[in-house]
Symmetry: C2
Subunit: 223 residues, 2 copies
């Protein structure tokens, strides 16, 4: 999904003095990467904001302008896979099943070499978030955001209101099972599992979503 940032120059809403959205995001990602590395190497508590700022070459004050607090520094890394997943669901055609859509994407995607090392960071943080309480909160918050996104997506697909309790229930259940599978896969990969067996992970997610929504989400729907 690294291929989607492609020249979407439709939003030229840059004000004088403001920097491009992309640049802001790149800095956030850069910070997040360094924070993840430090958290992994020394633990969260032992890592200071000063260290993170120094690692990326910013003043501490600026660091806190990009992130509300220390834990949220890793959110861009933690949210990576989730946002990829959400973006994928946004492009989900109505006449295609979830499993087919995910599988079709899986075979077509190309693995950017630079992306590889980044994926490592994602996996490390996901695993670390199982034990470190501060990272756990960040992980749960990113999943909370995913859930809100899924509410919109599901509401659209089911032609129901985002306020509909059924829709919100489906989104919550779907997000929960996707999260658990992500945790499970990350733990397996960290333990040295063969990444090729990961190919079926998306199929597992699709089936889990279908089950967790009582069959309401996953099948093709009327156009």
């Amino acid at each position: 999904m690294r291929n989607n940032g492609a020249n979407d120059m439709t939003k030229n809403e840059r004000k004088p003095g403001g920097m491009s959205e992309q640049r802001q995001q790149r800095i956030r990602l850069e910070i997040s990467r360094e924070a993840a590395r430090l958290f992994w190497e020394q633990g969260v508590a032992a890592t200071t904001g000063e260290q993170i700022a120094a690692a990326v070459g910013l003043s501490v004050r600026t660091l806190w302008r990009y992130f509300r607090n220390k834990e949220s520094c890793v959110e861009p890394v933690l949210a990576q896979d989730g946002e990829e997943f959400v973006a994928l669901l946004r492009r989900w055609p109505r006449d295609v099943s979830l499993e087919d859509h995910l599988m079709e994407w899986a075979v077509n995607r190309t693995k950017d070499p630079d992306q590889q090392s980044f994926d490592q960071a994602v996996i490390k943080m996901t695993v670390l978030a199982e034990k470190e309480p501060d990272l756990r909160t960040a992980w749960l918050m990113t999943n909370d955001r995913i859930e809100r996104a899924l509410v919109e997506i599901f509401a659209d697909r089911l032609r129901r209101s985002p306020d509909d309790i059924e829709v919100r229930l489906h989104a919550a259940a779907a997000t929960a099972v996707v999260r658990v599978i992500s945790e499970d896969v990350s733990a397996a990969l960290m333990a040295g599992a063969d990444p090729t067996s990961l190919g079926n992970t998306l199929g597992q997610m699709a089936r889990a979503v279908h089950t967790a929504t009582g069959g309401a989400v996953g099948d093709p729907v009327d156009p």
Copy 2:
């Protein structure tokens, strides 16, 4: 569920100088109550640890010995309903459906007068947690703990391993839908809804759990 603290004096492991488990819990709850009140009245950011400590008559240092950080001060309040729910599920007979078990409990329970005002605090915090990010993390963390408890309970009921991915999926989905319904009900009550219509909330939860687990959890099972 106030009636379960009943004389479980089996754990007489009190060491000289140590205080009883109950006393510790009472203090934690007392702190939580005051924190919730202050958070509601002035907002989370505007409330200092010093204020909370003063309100309950403790030194600030002692406050931080009871709670790791400011947000977690409200966890006992936020966890109230959830722990009640978990305790209820622990007593869930194998030959009874979830809906029947919850409904039977609903009619038999007595509303402690002191409990009323406490419920108000629970509702307030649940609603406040929808907007205030710091409380949101606390709310998600309590639900994370509930999920872990449900893993054990479901594993036991399904006679499967707590490590079984299916079991964890069911627990995650179930916790998620129960959380959403709780949020929904709290918001409705806060908006002035009639509490009598709340009687069916447990039925709704039971059905939602049944659906979110693909029918795996909710029906009676073999003894």
